[in-house]
């Protein structure tokens, strides 16, 4: 970098940003790799069914296909909201409804 570049102020170093973004997206894509194509739709429909009964948010349903010896296991985790916030949400929904 030359003297005049220095006077202009140095540009932000972008290689480290690239590396960080890639690290995250590559890890995410690797974990999704090899899982069945129907998982995203299954996740969406499950979320709709659960929402009929419990007020959960978008991120509450996590589905993964795991290997256990010779067979595959569909691992489903639903995070329920804690009682107080669920009650508050239900009350809000009731008021609106």
């Amino acid at each position: 970098m030359g003297l005049f570049d220095f006077l202009r102020g140095s540009p932000k170093q972008t290689a480290s940003i690239a590396k960080e973004r890639l690290r995250i997206i590559v890890a995410q894509e690797r974990s999704a790799r090899g899982s069945p194509d129907y998982l995203p739709l299954l996740r969406r429909e499950l979320l709709e069914v659960i929402r009929k009964y419990v007020n959960v948010d978008q991120e509450a349903v996590d589905i993964q296909v795991k290997r256990d010896g010779d067979h595959e296991v569909l691992d489903l985790t639903v995070t329920l909201p804690d009682k107080s916030s669920a009650a508050a949400a239900a009350a809000a929904a009731a008021r609106e409804g």
Binding site: G2, T14, A15, I25, V26
Partner: protein, 270 residues
């Protein structure tokens, strides 16, 4: 024993054909019997890079459809008797390639006693790219130190370990290498380009070679002489190192440091 090597990348324009040509010439230079095949049906280019575009009579698709013999379609290189080029078809669509047809041609090359068959993959992950990698024993994944190229390479690495004959039959997995091209040490030093270590860390596989960004590459393709034959070009030397490593040599990486600047260019920028 014939080894099938696919040169692939996912992303276009990263240097697959340049690398295929130089790797094929590098192997032939060392006395190996080599065929290099252009899988990019409809967008033939390897013939230009190899400098044999005016000698193409029959192509890969003609051989697959048994419109000529393999011998008739193989173009013997003018520099090395033991190097042959099989051009892609310029007129057909990419559906013209079939798995059985490709397998038959590769088996015939094996029977002819070729040591190496270099398969130059088209960009993308469609049929041509799939067939170029399907029978591979070894893969050279060409990658630029740039976000979209690195991400696409990771996708290709995933396909190599699931959608190849070796993966499907449970044989030893395809040997995978990274070949970093268009590497600019000055920009790496300035923090504007990911380094070899960054790319290696993200993708998690070994680097076969680093090809510096070089004017020699364009000059070589202009002339139809693969850049590995250019003794004055750093890119040529870097390809030669990569081929030596492919054959088991241990060589240190060269051309990774930014050239030293004089006092004037330090003051005024380059």
């Amino acid at each position: 024993m014939t080894e099938f090597i696919v040169v692939t990348s996912g992303k276009g324009g990263v240097g697959k054909t340049t690398s295929s040509a130089s790797v094929a010439v590098g192997l032939a230079k060392r006395g190996k019997k080599v065929a290099v095949i252009d899988f990019d049906v409809g967008l033939r280019n390897l013939d230009l890079i190899m400098g044999c575009e005016r000698r193409v009579v029959y192509d890969f698709v003609n051989v697959i459809h048994q419109e000529c013999t393999l011998k008739q379609a193989l173009i013997k290189d003018k520099r090395y008797d033991n190097l042959h080029v099989l051009a892609a078809s310029q007129t057909r669509d990419k559906e013209a390639l079939t798995k059985d047809g490709v397998e038959r041609v590769l088996n015939e090359l094996k029977d002819e006693g070729f040591d190496y068959v270099v398969c130059d993959s088209p960009a993308g992950i469609e049929k041509g790219a799939f067939l170029a990698m399907y029978f591979a024993d070894r893969a050279i994944v060409v990658v630029n130190p740039e976000v979209s190229s690195v991400r696409d390479s990771d996708r290709i690495l995933g396909l190599l370990s699931s959608k190849t004959r070796r993966a499907e039959t449970g044989a030893e997995p395809v040997v995978q290498h990274l070949l970093l091209t268009r590497y600019n040490p000055t920009r790496v030093a300035a923090g504007d380009m990911m380094s070899i270590d960054d790319v290696k860390e993200i993708l998690g596989i070994e680097v076969l070679g680093v090809i510096p960004e070089s004017e020699g590459v364009l000059a070589a393709s202009n002339a139809g002489v693969p850049v590995i034959l250019d003794d004055t070009s750093n890119a040529g030397h870097a390809y030669d190192d990569a081929v030596a490593r492919l054959l088991g040599d241990v060589r240190p990486m060269r051309f990774l440091d930014a050239p030293k600047k004089g006092i004037l260019s330090r003051l005024f920028g380059s």
